[in-house]
C-alpha cells in the first residue's frame, strides 16, 4: 500500500456530475501525473456533500480545505499552488452569504456547522464503491454486534426505544412496524426499501444510495433479522441510474464477501437482496402500489387494512421502510437507543434530512436534529433569500405538504408540529418562496402534479383533483368568481376524507394550507383581478414609466412582436394589445423604466 500524504475528495453525486465533476477528475489525474504528485495525493470520488449549489466540490484532506465551483481551468492552479507549493487557492473558497467571509475549512462553513449527521454521516466522506472505506467507518459493526449478541426481539426493542419514526413522510414508529411484522406467523417474509422518491425537489434517498449504499444495505439486513425475513427488495426509480449502479455494486460486493447470502458470518441468518427498478410513477411511493408494482401488476394502491405487515408482497408479511429510515438503523444498533433518543424532540427523535431548494442562497442537502426551527434552517444553513428579495413562505413536504408563512418560522420542526400547522414532514423537501412567487400559482403547480400522477383508481382523487385544478387555473387566468374559494375548500375536504390512498388524501394540502395563511392572495386574484407577485400572466400588463424612460430604444429593438414604439431619446410607448408578456423588455431595460401593473 502506498502512503498518500493527502486525499483529494471530489464529489461524484448527481448534482456535481451534472456540473461537470467527471472532467475535473480526469483533469486532476492528468495534472497530478504530469507534476509527479500521483504517488503523494490520492483522488477519491465520493457521494454527495450536500452543498450542491456550489458544486463541483473538491476537498483536500488532511487540511480539510474546501473548494467550490471548481472548473477544469482551475485544476492546474490548485495542483501548482496548493498541492505543489502549499498555498491554498483562496479565490475558490466558500464565501459566507451574509458576512462575505472566505472560509477555507470544511468544518467552519455555516452550512455544515449547524448540521448533525447520522444518516448522512459517511456521505461525501467515503468512496461509495470502496467496501473497505465503509468498513473503516464502523461499517457492518452493527451487523456483527447484532448477530453475536442480540435476539430479533432485542433488535426490535432497541429500535422502538430509540423512537425512530418512518422518514418517508408518514412518521409511523419503525419499531412498532417491525414488531407487528415479527408477530405475524408465516414461513416467508419480505423487507422492502422504498427508494421511489418522487416529490419535486427532494433528493435525499438518491444521495444516500449514491453516497453510502452499504449503510442502507446494513439497515435492511438488521430489519430482516428482526422480523425474520430472508429476502428483500430495493425499489429504486429508474431515473436514478447512478444510485442503482452504486447500490448494485454494493450488493455484489456484499454477496462476494458472504455478507449477503446463506448463513451470514456463520450464523443462522440468511438474507438476499434484489433491486427492482421503478418506472417513475409517483403513486408507486405508496406502499401498496409499490408492492403491486414489484409483483408485476399495475402500480395502484389498494385499501388498507390488511396492512403490508400482515399481508404484503406476494401475500406475505412485509415491512416497507424508506431509505433514510434504514440509514439510521445501524447507528441505533451500534450505539444504543439512548444515544439516538437524546437528539430531537419528545415525540420525534433523531435527525431529519431536508432537501433545500427554491429562492435561497445555499441550496442542497442538510441533516438537522428534530426540533430545530425553520428559521435556523433557512437563514443559518441556507443563507437566507437573495439580496433585495423578501421571504414569503416555505413549502414543506412536497405535493402532500403545505406552505408556512413567515410568522411560523420559529416553529420547532417535528412530525406533529408540522401537521398542526397544516403542513407535513413528507419526505423532507423544503422549497423557499420569495415575494416573486405567487402562492396561488404554487398551489396550482402542486395540484397539477398530483393530478397527473393520480392513478385513477378512486373517483375523489381522479375527478376531484381535476376539478380543483380547473378552478385554480380559472383563478390564475383572472376568471375567478367569489364563490370559488368556498367551493375549493369544500371539495378539498371531501377529497381529503374520501380518497383511497395517501396521494389523494394529501393532494389538497397545498391548497388548504395556502388558503389558511394566504387567503388574501386568492382574494386579490378573484376580486381585484390582480396577482400581487406578478406571476399570473393574465393578471398584469407591462407598462413603461415615461418619466424614467430615456428612449434608448433597446426595448423596441428586442421586442419580438414589435409592441414597443417611440422616437429616439423620447419616452417609448407599449401597445398592450400586441404585447405577449414575454418579459424580455423588463429584463433588458437599463433604466428599470418598465414595470408590471
Amino acid at each position: 500500500m502506498v502512503f498518500y500524504r493527502g486525499h483529494l475528495l471530489i464529489c461524484g453525486g448527481t448534482g456535481c456530475v451534472s456540473s461537470g465533476c467527471k472532467d475535473i477528475i480526469i483533469a486532476f489525474q492528468e495534472e497530478l501525473r504530469k507534476k509527479k504528485l500521483d504517488e503523494e495525493i490520492k483522488i477519491v470520488e465520493t457521494g454527495c456533500h450536500g452543498l450542491c449549489e456550489m458544486g463541483p466540490l473538491v476537498i483536500l484532506h488532511p487540511e480539510s480545505v474546501f473548494y467550490c465551483r471548481v472548473e477544469v481551468k482551475d485544476v492546474q492552479e490548485i495542483v501548482d499552488e496548493h498541492l505543489m507549493k502549499g498555498r491554498p487557492v483562496s479565490r475558490l473558497f466558500f464565501t459566507e452569504p451574509l458576512s462575505l467571509d472566505k472560509v477555507p475549512k470544511y468544518q467552519e462553513i455555516g452550512f455544515y456547522r449547524k448540521q448533525q449527521r447520522i444518516a448522512l454521516r459517511n456521505c461525501g466522506f467515503i468512496d461509495p464503491e470502496n467496501f473497505n472505506e465503509y468498513l473503516a467507518c464502523d461499517g457492518y459493526a452493527a451487523l456483527e454486534k447484532m448477530l453475536s449478541e442480540m435476539t430479533p426481539e432485542e433488535v426490535t426493542n432497541v429500535v422502538k426505544a430509540a423512537g425512530l419514526r418512518g422518514r418517508g413522510g408518514g412518521g409511523f414508529s419503525t419499531g412498532t412496524k417491525w414488531e407487528l411484522c415479527a408477530k405475524a406467523t408465516s414461513i416467508k417474509k419480505y423487507i422492502i426499501c422504498n427508494a421511489d422518491e418522487g416529490d419535486p425537489g427532494a433528493f435525499m434517498d438518491r444521495s444516500l444510495l449514491e453516497g453510502d449504499p452499504h449503510n442502507v444495505l446494513e439497515g435492511m439486513m438488521i430489519a430482516a433479522y428482526a422480523i425474520g425475513a430472508d429476502e428483500g427488495y430495493l425499489y429504486i426509480r429508474a431515473e436514478y441510474p447512478l444510485a442503482i449502479k452504486r447500490t448494485q455494486t454494493a450488493i455484489s460486493r456484499a454477496e462476494e464477501l458472504g455478507l449477503l447470502g446463506k448463513n451470514i458470518l456463520g450464523s443462522n441468518f440468511s438474507f438476499t437482496l434484489k433491486i427492482k427498478e421503478g418506472a417513475g410513477a409517483f403513486v408507486c411511493g405508496e406502499e401498496t402500489a409499490l408492492i403491486a408494482s414489484i409483483e408485476g401488476r399495475r402500480g395502484m394502491p389498494r385499501s388498507r387494512p390488511p396492512f403490508p405487515v400482515v399481508k404484503g408482497l406476494f401475500g406475505k408479511p412485509t415491512v416497507i421502510n424508506n431509505v433514510e429510515t434504514f440509514a439510521n438503523v445501524p447507528q441505533i444498533i451500534l450505539h444504543g437507543a439512548d444515544k439516538f433518543a437524546a437528539v430531537g424532540t419528545e415525540r420525534s427523535k433523531g435527525t431529519k434530512v431536508f432537501a433545500l431548494t427554491g429562492k435561497l442562497r445555499n441550496t442542497g442537502l442538510v441533516e438537522v436534529p428534530m426540533g430545530i426551527t425553520m428559521r435556523e434552517i433557512i437563514y443559518d444553513i441556507g443563507g437566507g433569500t437573495f439580496e433585495g428579495k423578501k421571504f414569503k413562505a416555505v413549502q414543506i413536504g412536497g405535493p402532500s405538504g403545505g406552505c408556512l408563512p413567515e410568522d411560523r418560522l420559529d416553529l420547532p420542526i417535528d412530525y406533529d408540529s408540522l401537521v398542526q400547522a397544516g403542513a407535513m414532514m413528507g419526505s423532507g423537501g423544503l422549497v423557499v418562496l420569495d415575494d416573486e412567487s405567487c402562492i396561488v400559482d404554487v398551489a396550482r403547480y402542486f395540484l397539477s402534479f398530483t393530478r397527473s400522477e393520480s392513478c385513477g383508481k378512486c373517483t375523489p382523487c381522479r375527478e376531484g383533483t381535476m376539478r380543483l385544478l380547473e378552478i385554480l387555473e380559472r383563478i390564475c387566468a383572472g376568471q375567478g368568481v367569489p364563490e370559488d374559494i368556498a367551493k375549493v375548500e369544500k371539495l378539498a375536504y371531501i377529497i381529503k376524507a374520501s380518497a383511497l390512498c395517501g396521494l389523494g388524501q394529501t393532494a389538497p394540502n397545498p391548497i388548504l394550507s395556502t388558503l389558511r395563511y394566504f387567503r388574501h392572495e386568492y382574494e386579490a386574484h378573484i376580486h381585484d383581478k390582480k396577482c400581487p407577485a406578478g406571476v399570473c400572466q393574465a393578471l398584469f400588463d407591462y407598462r413603461i414609466d415615461d418619466r424614467i424612460c430615456n428612449g434608448c430604444t433597446i426595448c423596441a429593438k428586442i421586442c419580438p412582436v414589435g409592441a414597443i414604439s417611440g422616437e429616439r431619446k423620447q419616452a417609448h410607448q407599449l401597445d398592450i394589445v400586441k404585447c405577449i408578456k414575454c418579459g424580455i423588455c423588463l429584463e433588458r431595460c437599463p433604466k428599470n423604466a418598465i414595470f408590471k401593473e
Binding site: 488532511p62 507549493k85 502549499g86 473503516a136 457492518y140 464477501l257 458470518l265
Partner: protein, 124 residues
C-alpha cells in the same frame, strides 16, 4: 477476496481497513514542509518524497504531512516543522533527504529533538 465465514474474519478485515483512510483526518502530530519556490529549489520535493517513504517503511499512520508556502527564511531551506501535541513546535533547517530518517526515528517516534538541525522553536 474469499468469503467471510465468521465474525472473526470480518473483524480482522476491519482492523486493516482504516489504513486507506488515514490521510482523511488531521492528526495531532504533524510534519509541515515549506515548499515555496525557494524550498523546491533547495530540494523540498525530494524531502517530502523521502518523508512519505520513511513513514511507510516504519508503518507510521497517525501523522499528517502537509505543505506550506515560503515562510521567509529562504536561506535555511528546506525547512521542516514537527508539531507534536503539548510540545514545542520545532523547525528544522537545511534538511536534506538523508536527514529525514533521523528526524522521523528520533523526533516522531522517540520524541527526542534532533538538536543539530534545529533553527527555531515556537513554544506550545
Amino acid at each position: 477476496m474469499n468469503k467471510l465465514l465468521t465474525m472473526e474474519e470480518l473483524r480482522e478485515l476491519r482492523k486493516k481497513a482504516p489504513d486507506e483512510m488515514t490521510a482523511r483526518q488531521t492528526w495531532d502530530t504533524q510534519v509541515i514542509v515549506s515548499v515555496g519556490t525557494c524550498g523546491i529549489a533547495a530540494g523540498a520535493r525530494e524531502v517530502v518524497t523521502e518523508l512519505l517513504k520513511e513513514l511507510q517503511r516504519r508503518n507510521i499512520k497517525n501523522v499528517s504531512v502537509t505543505k506550506t508556502g515560503c515562510i521567509g527564511m529562504c536561506e535555511r531551506e528546506v525547512l521542516l516543522d514537527v508539531v507534536r501535541p503539548n510540545e514545542d513546535r520545532v523547525t528544522y533547517g537545511r534538511v536534506v533527504p538523508r536527514d529525514v530518517s533521523r528526524i522521523v526515528g528520533e523526533h516522531l517516534v522517540n520524541g527526542r529533538v534532533v538538536e543539530g538541525l534545529v533553527v527555531g522553536r515556537i513554544s506550545s
